[in-house]
């Protein structure tokens, strides 16, 4: 047969094969698996590899893109996912600057988005565009309050801050200043450093000359160990606090015994074994962590993967409701999915219990945080 005659037949066959009874649900994911935020993005990516490919009998396609921790790339990915892959919902990105930049894009396309970044600004209710945006991680404010409470209980009167010279560090500084003021603690020094800095001696000497009772390090992953080791080398005797950004096994490996006694607020999932049986999170966190560690090795857990899992949990309970109102791929389905996400009530996920309202698109409360301490290279729940 002549090729030209064959082509229309082939095309027709293709259409028959690819057109299903009902379209699959396409979930577009953009995360920072490379670049500066890779240590956060990789466990998230690992978590997406664990997720089931069907919810309520409906097939789900997870389309995962890497934005390299780059804001422009995150926006490009989002546009591509919406216009080319016709996704029903966007999950991502890993970090705050990327997520903030994506808000406008998803709002214009009327596609719901679930961010895995920390800042409360991503879902700021005073911005009408955030109607379409949700986020799974605890707000920095929630964690900063926990630190202030712990500092007050330990009799801390003055504190100093050293953190990343980026959105993460600045966000934490702002929240901590507010929480400290409420608790009556004075911030006597604030310093910045970059995650790749070979040395922070200068900043630490400056901080020590202000003689603070406690020091908070606002960093994520192994770079958080750099100021901590310097503090120990300079013989600092006060309390050292870290943020939940450092909670992964690599931090423990790098900081070694210099990390002992460090306090940090965290989603309870990290130490789920130590939670009382009455805590509802114990079971739900165990479900996720058992799956994760079965595939990636013992003690490989990281709270960042939990944010991705929680995004899935939110979707898994919202999708069946949305399916009643429209078919995947349509505008109606996306709107119904958004409404269903906003109506989430008492959903027990890995990090906490989510109850969304039109004013609160994060939905976590005090149950989503606990203070832990590093003791002999292990995370220990502070009772």
């Amino acid at each position: 047969m002549h090729v030209r005659k064959l082509l229309p037949a082939l095309a027709a066959a293709l259409v028959l094969v690819t057109a299903p009874a009902r379209a699959d649900i396409n979930v577009g994911v953009t995360l920072s698996a490379t670049g500066p935020a890779a240590s956060l993005g990789i466990p998230e990516k690992n978590t997406f590899d664990l997720l089931p490919t069907a919810v309520a009998g409906q097939k789900i396609n997870w389309i995962i893109l890497d934005d390299g921790s780059d804001t422009t790339k995150a926006v490009t990915n989002t546009r591509k996912l919406i216009s080319e892959d016709k996704v029903d919902v966007i999950v991502g990105s890993t970090i705050t600057p990327n997520s903030l930049a994506m808000v406008d894009v998803v709002a214009d396309a009327e596609t719901p988005m679930i961010s895995m970044a920390a800042s409360a600004r991503i879902v700021d209710p005073s911005n009408p565009k955030t109607r379409w945006v949700f986020k799974t991680p605890q707000n920095d404010a929630l964690m900063a309050d926990a630190i202030a409470v712990s500092m007050k209980a330990n009799g801390v009167k003055t504190m100093a801050y050293i953190g990343f010279a980026d959105a993460y560090g600045d966000g934490w500084l702002a929240e901590m200043k507010r929480s400290a003021q409420t608790a009556g603690i004075k911030v006597v020094a604030e310093e910045k450093y970059n995650r790749n800095d070979p040395s922070v001696t200068g900043q630490i000497l400056k901080i020590l000359s202000a003689k603070p009772d406690a020091i908070l390090i606002g960093a994520s992953g192994t770079p958080g160990a750099t100021p901590q080791k310097e503090l120990v080398a300079r013989g600092y005797k006060g309390k050292v606090y870290q943020t939940h950004g450092i909670a992964n096994p690599d931090f423990l490996r790098v900081v070694g015994k210099d990390g002992d006694g460090t306090l940090l607020p965290i989603g309870p999932m990290l130490v789920y074994e130590q939670l009382p049986d009455s805590n509802p999170l114990k079971k739900s966190a165990a479900e996720y962590i058992t799956k994760y560690e079965a595939k990636y090795g013992k003690d490989s857990r990281s709270t960042f993967g939990g944010h991705a899992w929680d995004a899935y949990m939110l979707l898994a309970q919202a999708i069946p409701q949305a399916l009643k109102k429209g078919a995947p791929g349509t505008k109606e389905f996306r709107a119904a999915l958004r409404d269903a996400l906003e109506n989430t009530k008492e959903l027990v996920a890995s990090h906490g219990v989510y109850t969304m309202t039109p004013q609160d698109h994060n939905g976590l409360d005090n149950r989503a945080r606990t203070m832990i301490k590093i003791d002999n290279g292990k995370w220990v729940l502070v009772k």
């Binding site: 450093y193 040395s199 200068g202």
Partner: protein
């Protein structure tokens, strides 16, 4: 600021400056002989630390696979080069040199990594593995375009930098590593704690700088490299192979960088992408030396280290801005004081 803080900052600055100085030397060396601005030098530093950390964790480091892969590529380049020039008889020798030696190093390291080696042996394995990457990088990325303009070579360098960073993430993961100190001891000097580790870093850097000075001043190979640096065509006319000179330069430069990596491992956490900033700071030092003078480059790098230490004390948020703004007055001063030579194209 009291005297004690001042002394501690100077110590910090000098220690970091010593590492930048090694990189500045490597950059000047490579630029002088091959006209390549070797941006990926920083990646070699990071590979050095991360390879050593991998060996300490009892794992076979990813560098082994990288070296083997590059050896295969370089070997096939050589086979093609020999065949296209009709010099099939040279093939066994070239293959043994470009594929055999690196493959042997990779295999030996892979085998040695299964044992619990003493610390010094781990350092030797690291140096061998990482140094071997140098000439292979030259063979694969730079030798085929050795006659191209400085700009083209610079663009290739940027490409190599990105490739090595990506491979680093793949091999070593996103999180950083530290290696144990050579010595955890420290002593008091007029009320200031001086760590033996910092002294070791400075002493090793000084020793390497002296060794380089002797190599270039006293040995025939060193003199041949200098001749190539001064005049490539002339050197060729008197029988110095520019390809060999290039490969040798990259070996030396990679050795310097691998050494830096081993030295900074205990005093800082190194990440797969740490290298870029370190090499840029070495580059600022090298620029102060006009990319030709070794002593000036080393002094410049030391100056960068000191500026960085004091900037991080006074204005930590603007530290990098201050360090890199430094290059503007330096360039101004250099353009005013030196006569400009147009590059021969």
């Amino acid at each position: 600021m009291d005297l004690q803080i001042f002394a501690l900052l100077v110590q910090d600055g000098v220690t970091n400056g010593a590492v930048y100085a090694l990189l500045a030397l490597a950059l000047v060396l490579v630029f002088a002989v091959t006209r390549v601005i070797w941006i990926p030098s920083g990646e070699i530093v990071a590979y050095g630390t991360l390879t050593l950390a991998g060996l300490q964790a009892g794992k076979s480091p990813g560098t082994v696979g990288l070296l083997a892969g590059m050896a295969v590529v370089a070997g096939s380049f050589e086979v093609y080069a020999c065949l296209s020039r009709g010099e099939a008889h040279r093939m066994p020798r070239q293959l043994a040199l470009w594929a055999g030696v690196p493959l042997a190093i990779a295999a030996a390291s892979w085998w040695l990594a299964t044992f619990e080696l003493p610390f010094w042996a781990q350092i030797l394995v690291t140096l061998a593995l990482v140094t071997a990457l140098g000439p292979l990088l030259y063979r694969i990325a730079y030798q085929p375009i050795a006659e191209a303009s400085v700009l083209v070579l610079l663009i290739v360098s940027v490409g190599v930098h990105f490739a090595l960073t990506g491979l680093g993430l793949w091999f070593f993961g996103a999180e950083g590593s530290r290696t144990p100190p050579f010595s955890a001891a420290s002593f008091e000097l007029h009320g200031v704690t001086v760590s033996v580790q910092s002294l070791l870093v400075v002493a090793t850097s000084l020793a390497l700088i002296t060794a380089l000075y002797l190599f270039f001043g006293r040995t025939l190979t060193g003199k041949a490299l200098r001749a190539t640096a001064l005049n490539r065509t002339g050197a060729r006319l008197v029988g110095i192979s520019p390809d060999l000179a290039g490969a040798l330069t990259f070996t030396l430069a990679a050795l310097l960088c691998a050494f830096s990596g081993v030295l900074i491992g205990p005093i800082t956490t190194v990440y797969y992408d740490s290298g870029f900033l370190v090499s840029l700071k070495g580059f600022v030092g090298a620029i102060i030396g006009g990319l030709v003078s070794y002593p000036l480059a080393a002094a410049g790098a030391l100056f960068v280290g000191l500026i960085e230490a004091f900037a991080s004390f006074w204005a930590s948020g603007f530290k990098e801005v201050i360090v890199f703004t430094l290059i503007v007055p330096v360039l101004l001063w250099r353009s005013l004081t030196t006569t400009h030579h147009e590059e021969d194209e």
